[in-house]
């Protein structure tokens, strides 16, 4: 049984996904009406599908030379930050309040990725100070200088 490396499997999945998107774009472009509105999408989706299928076939044959994929180590470190960022953006910013959610997300990310020892009070004081500075700068810049009205909801 031949061994298929992780990057190769990832390349196949990624290029397969892009090929599927390309085919969906082409299908919509060629089937939706009015046809005049889809003239340009038809043109680009044709090239899109050709290139995407070419990339997919290359990935299946193992001819892909560019791109290293995502290593397990990278993914393990990336995941917590990505989850915090996505919760912040897609839920908390609107539900909790823009500044409150932003400050909590900032503090969590800073604390998680900071290499300083978690057991020392000095480390936590530094993190809280940096977070407070971030909140002050963001509030000053966007609320006071640019007068941007942000979703307030539960807090602000």
């Amino acid at each position: 049984m031949s061994y298929v490396s992780l990057p190769r499997v990832q390349h196949i999945v990624a290029s397969g996904f892009i090929a599927a998107v390309g085919m969906w774009v082409a299908w919509v472009s060629y089937t939706q009406q009015p046809a005049e509105a889809f003239l340009f999408p038809r043109l680009i989706s044709t090239v899109f599908v050709v290139l995407a299928v070419w990339t997919f076939v290359k990935a299946i044959l193992g001819w892909t030379k560019v791109g290293h994929g995502v290593s397990r180590r990278d993914f393990v470190w990336l995941l917590p930050g990505l989850i915090i960022a996505l919760i912040y953006i897609f839920w908390a910013a609107k539900a909790v309040g823009f500044y409150t959610a932003g400050t909590i997300a900032f503090f969590m990310l800073l604390s998680f990725y900071d290499p300083a020892p978690h057991g020392e009070a000095k480390t936590w004081i530094k993190r809280v100070t940096i977070t407070a500075g971030f909140l002050a700068v963001m509030y000053g810049l966007f609320a006071m200088l640019l007068k941007v009205y942000t979703p307030r909801e539960i807090f602000f």
Binding site: Q10, H11, A14, S15, I18, V25, V28, Q32, P34, E36, A37, F38, L39, F40, P41, L43, I44, S45, V47, F48, L51, A52, W54, T55, K58, V66, G67, H68, G69, V70, R73, W77, L78, P80, G81, L82, A85, L86, Y88, I89, F90, A93, K94, F98, G102, A105, F106, L109, L110, F112, Y113, D114, P115, I130, F134, M138, F142, L146, V148, T150
Partner: protein, 503 residues
């Protein structure tokens, strides 16, 4: 000499203040590894939205120029190029710093950057109006091919894989069609309510350039290994000037190489610096000293990467084809203010065009003056932990994309495109052609539709789009750029890779 008429406009308090802010801020941001010039300019765009067009462009132009020069600080003192354009600077710059000549290397880099930058901007001043007038002869079919040329040139030359670069461009062109069609009012690819108004360019730019950097920093984990900053000792500025004047060959090769490469869309500062370094080494009588802390290496690399900045804006301001990814972001900055490059810019907004270009000229001098003073500070800022940097950039990306239209939909688009781009980059795709597709997509489509209407009433599509001298020349350039890139890819890498240099 029309530009002289608008020179005074740069010195109004707000414009000059923004120029100073952009220059000093850009020097510091440029020195920070992980914050590329393109990302810095993309993050600044939401702020320019609240300014007058000319003021916004002055800020963006100053940031563009000085982030490229600022990248030399971390390249010399930390051996970490602040931007890809500074890779060649590490070769001799860091070695000079280790030999106790860090101050001299920094002074030479800023002086050479200023000389290269001024000549590059002069080229911009004198070439742009000529090409803009020439662009008047362009009809819809030519403008369609020009937009396609912009996407294919960056897609093929800026990417490690030609097919993936072109595919990125196609994805960008498709993303540009999302929303309501301008002519028929039909809905196209609106699979989420946030996409009803199409994809906001600023949100997309921030997402595509900032979020992948943030996620890359996350993926590095708890990185405690900060590079050691080499202390800078005092060195006479006049000695640096004399040293620069003693090396005219390196300065002229760097400046000429950078200027020529800047004019070619898609090639960028990284190639300019490396080619200039390589050519200077070939023509030098002291070639054995290169790589061992030779001043000519720093002079050639830095004069080239800043000489590239001005000319990279020539195809942008005349034909809407950005010469580099950062120029593509600048194009987005122009379009959000309702300003279209080409003759419209110089005929209807000469105050904006010339004040912006003049500010870049003055910005080169300011960058040189301040660069020498803020280098030490910039090197310390470059040591800010990645955990702080990632959280700050994420916060700026969210607040910045929201502030443009006070829309959460833009924040969702920014985040979705950003996460998508991170994974695409892992598989060899590049953000620059995707952005070009997104920006040039509406221009290509509008001219394609207009051209098809004309073709329908005349000789037919094939005849209208594929014949005529200018059409044939443009199509030939599209094919040639793809063919050249495929040839280069097959021949493997011609230039020194970043990994080889950093090893």
């Amino acid at each position: 000499m029309e530009f002289l008429y608008y020179f005074g406009d740069v010195f109004t308090p707000i414009s000059f203040g923004l120029l100073l802010l952009g220059t000093i801020g850009g020097l510091i941001l440029g020195a920070t590894p992980g914050l590329s010039p393109t990302m810095a300019v993309a993050l600044l765009i939401p702020f320019t939205f609240h300014l007058a067009p000319v003021q916004g462009l002055i800020l963006l132009g100053a940031a563009y120029t000085s982030t490229v020069a600022g990248g030399a600080v971390s390249a010399i003192l930390l051996k970490i190029p602040g931007a890809p354009a500074n890779i060649a600077t590490t070769l001799d710059g860091h070695t000079m710093a280790k030999q106790g000549k860090g101050a001299q290397a920094l002074q030479l880099s800023f002086l050479a950057s200023a000389v290269g930058g001024v000549i590059g901007v002069l080229l911009l001043i004198f070439l742009t109006p000529v090409l803009a007038q020439w662009a008047l002869a362009f009809g819809p079919s030519h403008l369609f091919w020009l937009a396609i040329l912009g996407v294919t040139v960056i897609g093929s030359l800026d990417s490690a894989s030609v097919v993936k670069g072109l595919l990125s461009g196609c994805i960008g062109l498709w993303l540009a069609t999302i929303g309501f069609d301008d002519i028929m009012g039909a809905q196209r690819f609106i699979f989420h309510p946030a996409l009803g108004g199409g994809i906001n360019i600023i949100a997309a730019l921030i997402g595509l350039f900032a979020i992948p950097q943030v996620l890359t920093m996350f993926a590095k984990g708890r990185n405690a290994a900060n590079a050691e900053v080499i202390d800078v000792e005092k060195h006479s500025i006049m000695d640096a000037v004399r040293e620069l004047l003693r090396r005219p060959k390196a300065l002229s090769i760097g400046t000429i190489t950078g200027s020529v490469i800047g004019l070619i869309p898609g090639v960028g500062g990284q190639i300019a610096g490396l080619v200039a370094y390589d050519q200077t080494k070939k023509f030098s009588s002291e070639r054995e000293k290169f790589g061992k802390g030779h001043s000519e290496g720093v002079i050639a690399a830095e004069s080239a990467n800043n000489a590239m900045v001005g000319p990279s804006l020539v195809p942008l301001l005349t034909l809407s084809i950005p010469g580099s990814p950062t120029a593509a972001v600048l194009l987005g900055g122009l379009l959000i203010h309702g300003i279209f490059p080409g003759t419209d810019l110089f005929d209807n907004h000469p105050d904006v065009a010339w004040t912006f270009i003049n500010s870049m000229l003055i910005g080169q001098v300011l960058m040189c003056l301040f660069g020498l003073y803020v280098a030490g500070l910039a090197a310390r800022v470059a040591q800010v932990p990645q955990s702080v940097m990632a959280a700050v950039v994420l916060g700026l990306a969210v607040f910045g994309s929201y502030s443009v239209q006070s829309s959460m939909g833009d924040v969702y688009v920014m985040a979705t495109l950003g996460v998508m781009m991170y994974f695409l980059e892992r598989f060899g795709f590049s953000a620059a052609p995707l952005v070009l597709g997104l920006i040039l997509g509406p221009i290509a489509e509008a001219n394609f539709i207009q051209g098809s209407m004309i073709a329908g009433a005349t000789d037919g599509m094939a005849s209208y789009f594929l014949t005529g001298a200018l059409n044939i020349v443009l199509i030939a350039i599209v094919i040639a750029s793809i063919a050249y890139s495929v040839w280069m890819e097959l021949r493997s890498r011609r230039y020194t890779s970043k990994e080889e240099i950093m090893a």
